[in-house]
């Protein structure tokens, strides 16, 4: 298959080069001589697989190809018939048409950063040999060289300034877990191209970009997918699946909530690192500031530190972040505090407070929706129920103090508002008894009327028979 493709490709390239040569007249003779025979693959023409695979010599475990890069799998089929070699790919795109198609979608094309910026060579040559010989021809850069290669432009403050882009990525990268690993010689440590794409490098705010917020989990998951996949050994466990199952992943990927964190929000992007156990509270506290301040004031902080646990993750998990339901309190606390202990009793008390309030709110809501269908006037009650729900939501951060007196005011407020609403709606619903009384009265009157009519009827019958 690959052989066929390669052959077909080189034949195609030859044909195009020949066609171009024909149009260029003067070079015609020369180019037909230099062009390789159709059955012999051009020495430097890479096979299509090679564009996403590394030569066997490097012996690294490869990240599986990103789905975003799978677009032009058949190089010939993918080339739009009317597309011409662009200015920046110039002659390179004649043979490397599949790469040209990818490159054309990227941001570098519009900035006129062409092939030779990274690969060197002569883009204006019309023979393959000449093209691959030009000034500073580099071919495929070595993995280890890639960060510095990208950094050669991206660390240049003057060059980045017009784009309002940062220029510290390379410096940050060298301090990151990825960068350090690469420096140690771990060749499968992520380099720029693993996250940003090779030729189809799109800006981060492009939704098709590999580093667009909603694509980040998949991009990181290519190596850190886990699940015991030998091709993805980078991380124990299954962070990607866990993240997707957690509340953050659900919010970002299912709920399309772009405020939800992806991998880089906790681990950093260019300076990726695992937050240390002591720093988890700070990482989470970026968004959950109020929760963090409550947690810091609680006895748990000291205890968790002494035990060497990672603060928030002890109860909420790390990648599979979960919200602890009001009814799951005791169970969660159970892992450290047994129910019999005084600490377990506190957990029980907090759970009861939360569960009571939420049950009370549910009851009130049920009443209100019943009244709404009649309909009764419920707008006020709905607003007050919203108040109650807000109070219950305020109770959630307060539970991190594990102090019942801090939680209680919120739950009490929620409960009392909801109870008041239920009571009032109940009264309104019960106040409709008069309808049934009215109905009874109506039937009473109706039956009496019917009785009178029946009497008249009987009399009329009696009269008519007596006449007869």
């Amino acid at each position: 298959m690959t052989a066929w493709r390669t052959m077909g490709r080189s034949a195609f390239a030859t044909a195009i080069v020949a066609a171009l040569a024909w149009t260029h007249g003067a070079h015609a003779q020369d180019s037909t001589k230099t062009a390789p025979a159709p059955d012999a693959p051009a020495p430097a023409a890479p096979s299509p697989a090679a564009t996403s695979a590394t030569p066997v010599a490097e012996k690294v475990v490869l990240p599986p190809p990103s789905p975003l890069h799978e677009r032009a799998s058949h190089p010939l089929a993918a080339v739009p018939t009317d597309s011409k070699p662009t200015k920046t790919t110039r002659m390179c795109g004649v043979c490397h048409s599949d790469i040209r198609v990818k490159f054309d979608k990227g941001i570098h094309k519009s900035e006129e950063i062409g092939c030779i910026s990274c690969h060197g060579g002569n883009p204006d040559a019309i023979t393959i040999a000449e093209a691959h010989r030009g000034s500073g021809y580099r071919g495929r850069p070595r993995r280890a060289d890639i960060p510095a290669l990208c950094g050669s432009c991206h660390s240049d403050v003057a060059r980045m300034r017009p784009y309002q882009l940062p220029s510290d990525q390379f410096a940050l990268y060298r301090t990151s877990a990825h960068g350090l690993a690469l420096a140690r010689g771990t060749m499968n440590a992520a380099v720029c191209t693993d996250c940003h794409g090779v030729h189809e490098i799109r800006p981060a705010d492009d939704p098709l970009s590999m580093v667009a917020r909603h694509n980040v989990p998949t991009t990181c998951g290519r190596c850190h997918g886990g699940n015991g996949d030998p091709a993805r050994p980078a991380t124990p466990g299954s962070p990607l699946a866990d993240y997707k199952a957690g509340i953050h992943g659900h919010a970002l990927l299912v709920g399309n909530n772009n405020a939800a964190p992806e991998c880089a929000n906790c681990h950093g992007s260019h300076a990726t690192a695992q937050p240390g156990a002591r720093d988890v509270d700070k990482v989470c506290g970026q968004c959950h500031g109020k929760v963090r301040s409550f947690f810091m004031s609680s006895p748990h902080r000291g205890a968790v530190r002494r035990g060497g646990h990672s603060d928030c993750a002890v109860c909420h998990g790390n990648h599979k972040t979960t919200r602890i339901a009001a009814t799951a309190f005791e169970k969660t606390c159970d892992s450290c505090h047994k129910p019999g202990t005084p600490e377990g009793a506190v957990a029980g008390r907090i759970q009861t407070m939360l569960a009571d309030a939420s049950a009370q709110i549910d009851r009130a809501r049920e009443r209100v929706s019943r009244a709404e269908k009649i309909p009764l006037y419920v707008e006020d009650y709905q607003a007050r129920l919203e108040d109650a729900r807000t109070a219950l939501m305020e109770a959630a951060p307060a539970t991190h103090t594990v102090d019942t007196t801090a939680v209680e005011p919120h739950t009490r407020r929620a409960r009392s508002i909801a109870a008041e609403v239920s009571r009032e709606v109940d009264e309104k619903l019960k106040g409709r008894w008069w309808r049934y009384v009215g109905l009874g009265l109506f039937w009473f009157y109706l039956i009496l009327t019917a009785a009178i009519l029946l009497r008249w009827r009987r009399r009329a019958i009696a009269r008519s028979t007596s006449v007869r």
Partner: protein, 147 residues
């Protein structure tokens, strides 16, 4: 004989009673229809009682703002830096809608030339009663009027 008349009388009474009883259907239906047709109280609901009358910073001191609300529009006047006041924009004479006279800070009625000062007292013209006042509050740069 006397028995018969008494009997007849009783029958007449019974008949009258029955007819009266049956006739009650009509007033019952009438009362129901009438109470259906009686317009319900459409007084403002709690939520509608609070009128947001724009920001304070966009209202110059001594200037007024016309707030459209229900059938009874309101003028909000900024008396001082942190002092606003709300008066009804409906003339107490014949319910015409007043105009704000910027030059001498008075409300002028286009119908019969009644004049009120900026706090709603009658200055001249046919109106007898002062304008209705509403309580107004400033809540972080927003003027809120309660009706």
């Amino acid at each position: 004989m006397a028995d018969e008349t008494a009997d007849q009388e009783r029958r007449g009474f019974l008949k009258w009673l029955t007819a009266g009883f049956l006739a009650l259907w009509a007033p019952a239906a009438g009362i129901m229809t009438a109470s259906f047709l009686k317009p319900p109280e459409h007084g403002p609901r709690v939520g509608e009682r609070m009128i947001r009358a724009g920001t304070l910073s966009s209202l110059a001191i001594g200037e007024s703002r016309f707030v459209r609300h229900g059938l009874e529009p309101i003028f909000v006047v900024r008396l001082a830096d942190q002092q606003v006041m709300a008066v009804s924009a409906v003339c107490t004479h014949m319910q015409c809608i007043l105009h704000w006279n910027r030059d001498n800070s008075t409300f002028l009625c286009p119908c019969h030339d009644g004049v009120f000062d900026k706090t709603g007292n009658v200055l001249s013209g046919p109106p007898k009663k002062p304008l209705r006042q509403y309580s107004a509050e400033i809540r972080s740069d927003e003027i809120v009027v309660f009706t």
